[in-house]
C-alpha cells in the first residue's frame, strides 16, 4: 500500500466526519416526498442508466 492510498483514505474519512453533522440535519429537516415526487426522480435516473449503457456500447 503506497502513501497515496493512505492519504486518499484519510482524506475520505475526514470528508465523512465533516459532512456527517450536515447530513444528520438534512435527514431531520428535509421535507418528505410523495410517491409521485419520487417517481419524478426515478424516471430521469432510469433514462441516465440507459444512456450510460448506450455510451458503453459506443466505446
Amino acid at each position: 500500500m503506497d502513501w497515496m492510498e493512505i492519504v486518499s483514505a484519510f482524506a475520505l474519512v475526514m470528508l465523512i466526519v465533516i459532512l456527517f453533522p450536515a447530513t444528520r440535519d438534512m435527514m431531520r429537516n428535509s421535507p418528505k416526498g410523495t410517491s409521485s415526487d419520487w417517481l419524478s426522480f426515478v424516471i430521469p435516473l432510469i433514462v441516465i442508466v440507459v444512456f450510460i449503457m448506450f455510451l458503453i456500447k459506443l466505446v
Binding site: 492510498e5 486518499s8 428535509s30 430521469p44 441516465i48
Partner: protein, 223 residues
C-alpha cells in the same frame, strides 16, 4: 386591488431575482468549465505526475469547504471559485494523460465529456421545465453520498474492480440527483448566492465526468 398589484409585483420581482441567480450561475459555470479545461490542458502539457490529482482534489475541497463560504458574498468569492476549479482542472491533467495513452483513450475521453454534458443539460432542462421542488431529496442524497464515500474507503484497501465500477455508477446517480436538487433550490429561491450555486453544480459535473471516465475506461478495456 392595490393588494393584488403588490402581490403580482412581489412575485415578479422574486422571479426576476431567481432568473438573475440562474443566469449568473450558468454564466460563471461555463467560464469555470472553460478555465478548468485550460488548466487541464496545461497540466497535460507539463506532464504532471499522478499525485497532482490527489493534491488538487484535497486542496480544492479544503478551499471550497472552509474558505469559499467566508467570501461567497464578495467579489473575492468569484476569484476563489476560479482558483478551486482551476486546481481541480489541473489535477485532471494526469488522469486525462493516462486515458489518452490507452488504445481507444481519445474515444473514452470524448464520450465521457459528451456524456457528462448531455446528462447535465438534460437534467437541468428537466428541473427547469417541470419546476418541480426536489428539496425532499436532500437527506437521501447526503446519506447516499456518505455511504459511497465509506465504500470508496473500503475499496482502497480491498481493490475490487467490480466494486469500483459499482461506486462510479452510484456516484453518477447521486450527482444526477444533486443536479436536480441544486437547480430546484435555485428556481425556488433556496439558493440566492450564485457563487455557491456554481461551485455545487461544478462539483457534480466534475464527479460525473470522473466516474464516467472510469466506467468507460473499465468497460472499454478488452484486457
Amino acid at each position: 386591488m392595490n393588494q393584488n398589484y403588490s402581490t403580482v409585483a412581489r412575485r415578479s420581482s422574486s422571479a426576476l431575482a431567481t432568473n438573475k441567480v440562474l443566469r449568473n450561475t450558468y454564466m460563471l459555470l461555463s467560464l469555470t468549465l472553460l478555465f478548468s479545461g485550460l488548466t487541464a490542458a496545461i497540466s497535460m502539457f507539463m506532464n504532471m505526475p499522478p499525485m497532482t490529482y490527489l493534491i488538487s482534489v484535497i486542496g480544492g475541497m479544503v478551499i471550497a469547504m472552509f474558505v469559499l463560504p467566508r467570501f461567497a458574498n464578495s467579489t473575492a468569492g468569484i476569484g476563489i471559485v476560479f482558483l478551486i476549479t482551476g486546481m481541480l482542472g489541473f489535477g485532471l491533467g494526469p488522469i486525462l494523460s493516462m486515458y489518452a495513452s490507452l488504445p481507444n483513450g481519445s474515444n473514452i475521453i470524448t464520450l465521457s465529456l459528451g456524456g457528462t454534458g448531455v446528462i447535465f443539460m438534460g437534467l437541468s432542462a428537466y428541473a427547469l421545465t417541470t419546476r418541480k421542488d426536489f428539496s425532499f431529496l436532500g437527506g437521501f442524497l447526503m446519506v447516499g453520498f456518505l455511504l459511497v464515500l465509506l465504500a470508496a474507503v473500503a475499496n482502497i484497501f480491498l481493490a475490487i474492480p467490480a466494486m469500483s465500477l459499482m461506486i462510479s455508477a452510484v456516484v453518477i446517480m447521486i450527482m444526477s440527483g444533486f443536479i436536480l436538487y441544486d437547480t430546484s433550490r435555485i428556481i425556488h429561491g433556496g439558493e440566492t448566492n450564485y457563487v455557491l450555486a456554481t461551485i455545487g453544480l461544478y462539483m457534480t459535473i466534475f464527479n460525473i465526468f470522473i466516474s464516467l471516465l472510469q466506467i468507460l475506461g473499465i468497460m472499454g478495456n478488452d484486457d
